[in-house]
Amino acid sequence: MRSIAATFLLIGFVLAAAGYGTWAVYEDTEASADNSITDGTLDLVLTDTTPSADAQWMLFNAYPGNNVQEEGDIRIYNNGSIDADHVEISFELSCYEDNDGNISNGIVAGPESDTNQTGIGNWPKEIIVLSMAYTESPSNSNSGLDLVYTDLNGYHYNSSYLTDIDGDGYITLYDLSQQVITGLYAPPALNGNAPDGDHYTTFQMKLQVRNMNYPQNDWQGDVCELVVHVALAQNPNQHVLSPGGVTVHLPGGS
């Protein structure tokens, strides 16, 4: 029985070999070569009307007063090849106890009239966001967002994007330092053509130093640097940024 089975197997191989020769009809083979998988990019570029988005908010010799205001804006481009889902923005305050509003000449406590020479008091809570808007160019794309504005009925902010952390009725630099603005629509992917001066979103913000109707001498001569972090996120579930917070630097590096 075992030898019969071996015989059938041998026959089978022979027939298969014969058939292979018989069935070898015309054939042609082409190759699709040079296939590759290349990652897309999500490449954020920030500008202003100038190439750099730095130094957009510069308010020197500030004091309490409704007329003490500063407005700046940032243009946000996606120079990558993948459309982003959303934009996030956070704010970091790096503040210095100083005597003359100029940290390039050293950090010195003072002046004598500064009633808090070991800090900046409540200054970040006394600088309000007078207006904040997020828009897209071209203007016929996403609708503009008035995130903070004032009208005849008073001061308003869009609670879908912003939270009044300390509940004082205003969005201040302190509030901004404690949160991330997220869910903002993203500019289109320009695949290396950014900045093209045409397809971008703009973040605009006007600041005002509030007159609190009480002495605000506790931040005389002090300085704060505002660092604005902007992120492009690919996926709706992404949370890229964290609140920037407030850091106070004292003379002597403490």
């Binding site: 570029v45 004598e112 600041l207 005389q220 001569g221 002090d222 640097e225 992404q238």
Partner: protein, 189 residues
């Protein structure tokens, strides 16, 4: 059976590792830095002090005497301000000796007349002459806020305080002493 479970576990770990790679979506972050908010300063510096004392061992002044005090006031800050002053914190000592006859009834602060000038220009305080005698006395000045106008950032001015004791003052002021502060206040304008 145990080996089978182990194999499944290994497969699961490998798959989850692959998944973690898949779920790491792209993002990119840039910053706008160099945005500065710098506070100005409003820093008042005052130099100058004066005394007058009719008490025994004091300045030896009497009716008809007068003098000037020069006080330099500087806005050492970077913010313009408006300057005011007031005569305040009066500490009056009635020191007329009982041996003086007639004792008199005048009060030193009622018969000490004050005029002010800023950079040589008279400061009009005539509205404070409440008794209409043509003089503004220390009594009439007490705690009254006097506007001295603008004091711009970095500038300084000299205030001259001139005092005169009424030549007709009676013995009531003998030995009297008054001490007070001239308080300056600079408010941002």
């Amino acid at each position: 059976m145990k080996n089978g479970l182990l194999a499944l576990l290994v497969v699961g770990v490998v798959l989850s590792g692959l998944g973690a790679g898949t779920w790491a979506y792209f993002d990119d972050t840039e910053t706008s830095s160099g945005n500065y908010i710098a506070a100005g300063t409003l820093d008042l510096v005052v130099n100058g002090v004066g005394t007058f004392d009719t008490s025994l061992g004091g300045d030896g002044i009497g009716p008809g005497d007068s003098d000037n005090w020069g006080i330099t006031i500087q806005n050492a800050g970077t913010v313009d301000g408006t300057l005011t002053l007031k005569f305040t914190n009066y500490d009056y000592t009635e020191g007329t000796p009982a041996t003086i006859h007639p004792a008199g009834s005048d009060d030193l602060k009622d018969v000490t007349y004050i005029t002010l000038s800023l950079e040589g220009n008279p400061v009009d305080i005539s509205a404070l002459d409440t008794n209409g005698d043509g003089h503004v006395s220390l009594s009439e000045l007490e705690n009254q806020v006097i506007d001295l106008g603008a004091l711009t950032a970095g500038s300084s001015e000299t205030l001259t305080v001139s005092w005169e004791i009424d030549p007709d003052a009676d013995n009531g002021i003998q030995g009297d002493k008054i001490q007070f502060d001239i308080e300056f206040h600079l408010q941002q304008s």
